[in-house]
């Protein structure tokens, strides 16, 4: 029983970790290449979810909604870049934190203005609804498996894109030394735009994918943004590989910790106290984990060499 429970929780953790990775990948690139703290990355995830909700209500099909939502999320990201973020690249981190905080306030209220404060729900696409038996007597929703598959495919594509294409090479070079890349004749402004738009689209994709299993509501991006920051800081800012491993670690630590911390504590405490402290400790685990990692490796697990 415990083994199957652990397996299900591990799958949930993997799914959560992959969603985190989709968000963190864009964030770590924007951070690494442009040295720009974008707190508004979380609202791009929210916008992705809202776009899918709106488009699937309009077209009646999740597939079409996803297809329409992705370019819209990209366009929206580029619009924000041109309107606000472009003017912040040469400012210090403090200004960036504040201005992007303003973007969060605006967009959280903005979606309330357009779609109302009540949470929206998106139906799970017909073809991916239902559950499959993955072990004897153990059912797991197909849609969650689809999220895992999509996340792994995107991760593989990103790996190829970053490590084996010209744009990827420029991005990696930009993460190590943006000024030098610019001096070598690369249009750094355009590279920034590409990276930014791509990151926004990935976050939007993550939001779109989770829309059927979570409720779509204002402020849904705020907490996941903080988790994405935890991921990129643990992974080492600017490192896609670090973000991938850290995202999976965080996903597992959080999901498995929440379900097993009370059980583990029962070994040393009486049941009532164990479930009480277990519930108290579980949400803090990832932050304890992050503090521990930064204590031993102040610039993350995979620091980008400068």
């Amino acid at each position: 029983m415990t083994a199957t429970l652990f397996f299900v929780q591990a799958l949930n953790g993997l799914q959560f970790g992959l969603i985190l990775f989709l968000i963190a990948a864009g964030l770590t690139l924007v951070f690494g290449v442009m040295d720009f703290i974008n707190l508004a990355h979380g609202v791009q995830y929210m916008v992705g979810a809202y776009l899918v909700a709106a488009f699937s209500a309009w077209t009646g099909s999740f597939g079409w909604a996803l297809l329409l939502a992705l370019p819209t999320a990209l366009a929206f990201g580029l619009l924000l870049e041109a309107l606000v973020f472009r003017h912040l690249y040469d400012r210090d981190h403090l200004d960036q934190v504040l201005a992007t905080f303003g973007v969060i306030l605006f967009l959280n209220q903005g979606v309330k203005f357009v779609w109302g404060a009540a949470p929206l729900s998106v139906p799970v696409p017909e073809i991916l609804s239902g559950s499959v038996e993955i072990a004897n007597g153990l059912l797991y929703p197909v849609y969650r498996l689809a999220i895992i598959a999509a996340g792994l495919v995107i991760a593989a594509l990103l790996y190829v894109l970053v490590n084996h294409t010209r744009v990827g090479m420029l991005v990696r070079a930009g993460a190590s030394n943006a000024a030098m890349v610019s001096a070598l004749g690369v249009n750094i402004q355009r590279l920034f735009m590409v990276v930014f738009g791509f990151g926004a689209m990935l976050a939007g994709f993550a939001g779109a994918m989770v829309a059927p299993i979570l409720s779509v509501e204002p402020g849904m991006g705020d907490n996941i943004l903080i988790l994405a920051f935890v991921v990129i800081v643990i992974g080492g800012i600017g490192s896609i590989r670090g973000a991938f491993l850290a995202a999976l670690l965080i996903g597992l630590v959080d999901t498995v910790g929440r379900s097993f911390a009370p059980n583990l504590l029962r070994l040393v405490l009486d049941p009532a106290a164990a479930s009480q402290t277990g519930r108290a400790i579980a949400p803090m685990l990832i932050y304890v984990f992050m503090a521990a990692v930064l204590f031993f490796r102040p610039s993350g697990l995979f620091p980008v060499k400068r």
Binding site: G102, F229, S299
Partner: protein, 341 residues
Amino acid sequence: MTEIAETHSAPSLGARLEIIPVVLFAAFAAAPLLATFSGAEGYVLSLLTRVMIFGVAAMALDLILGYGALVSFGHAAFLGLGGYAVGILASHGFEDALIQVPVALVASAAFALVTGAISLRTKGVYFIMITLAFGQMVYFLATSLAPYGGDDGMTLASRSLIAGSGWLENDFTFYWVCLLCLFAAYALSRSIVASRFGRVLRGTRENAVRMEAIGFRPFRFQLAAYVISGMMAGLAGCLLANQAEFVSPAFMTWQRSGELIFMVVLGGLGSLHGAIIGAAAFLLLEEFLPEILHTVSFFLSEETRSHLAENWKMVFGPLLILIVLFVRGGIMGLLRRSHYG
């Protein structure tokens, strides 16, 4: 971090700038008298009390942010620690501020000492993020404290007693106590900044390597400043819990930490009274922006106007961005520029 560096060069502060804190405190002292004539004295008093409490918290942050360039993105945690110290002790029958406040200060200091010692090993962006992580840790701890209200928070039976008497129940008395705390915190911060300790802190902000080269260990000074700042914010938390007669995890969301940073930057980094002015500007704007929007949009239909007032945050957000982009040095910067230019 050039902007932090240039916002204040101590010798060139004109005589007029020294007037600002005097005017500020005089205004706070005169406000209760004026509030009596305004007809809505309860409302005015509680709003201004809130301004002063956040003034203490913002000033605490300015001490490390403006003078040490340490961008702490988890300072709301200290507000929560102070608040929960009051709430938890009160629920166990310790209702006297003479017990609650020292406990809150010790708890804040201990938390600041441990988290500061870890955070200060990191630099720049990593520092911002690790302080954020510690803030979130305390936030989630509070949400899981089921005996003390969990997510919903806890209501205090009454305000804290002082040596056994319920003076603080009177809003006027509470106002004066907050003003006293604000003044004490200001005086303390001012003397810290002017001392040798403060000069080392500023030197570290400008160039940590050089400070090390001339024989200082910046880490100790930064950690001490972080602890002092945490204690001041903890005191603000005690006051906030007493004002609202309520404590909840909402005291320490990361958005609240962001608001504290905004208050300091809005007022102008590294001037202490700038942080108080920033807190006042932020809270008053938050309070009156809906009404202002309603008034200035007189040419629109009544329905659109109330819709606009309801969604005031859609104006507040862009306003924040515009302030960051165009008002360098905050309100104090504007005052300074009008003085010299």
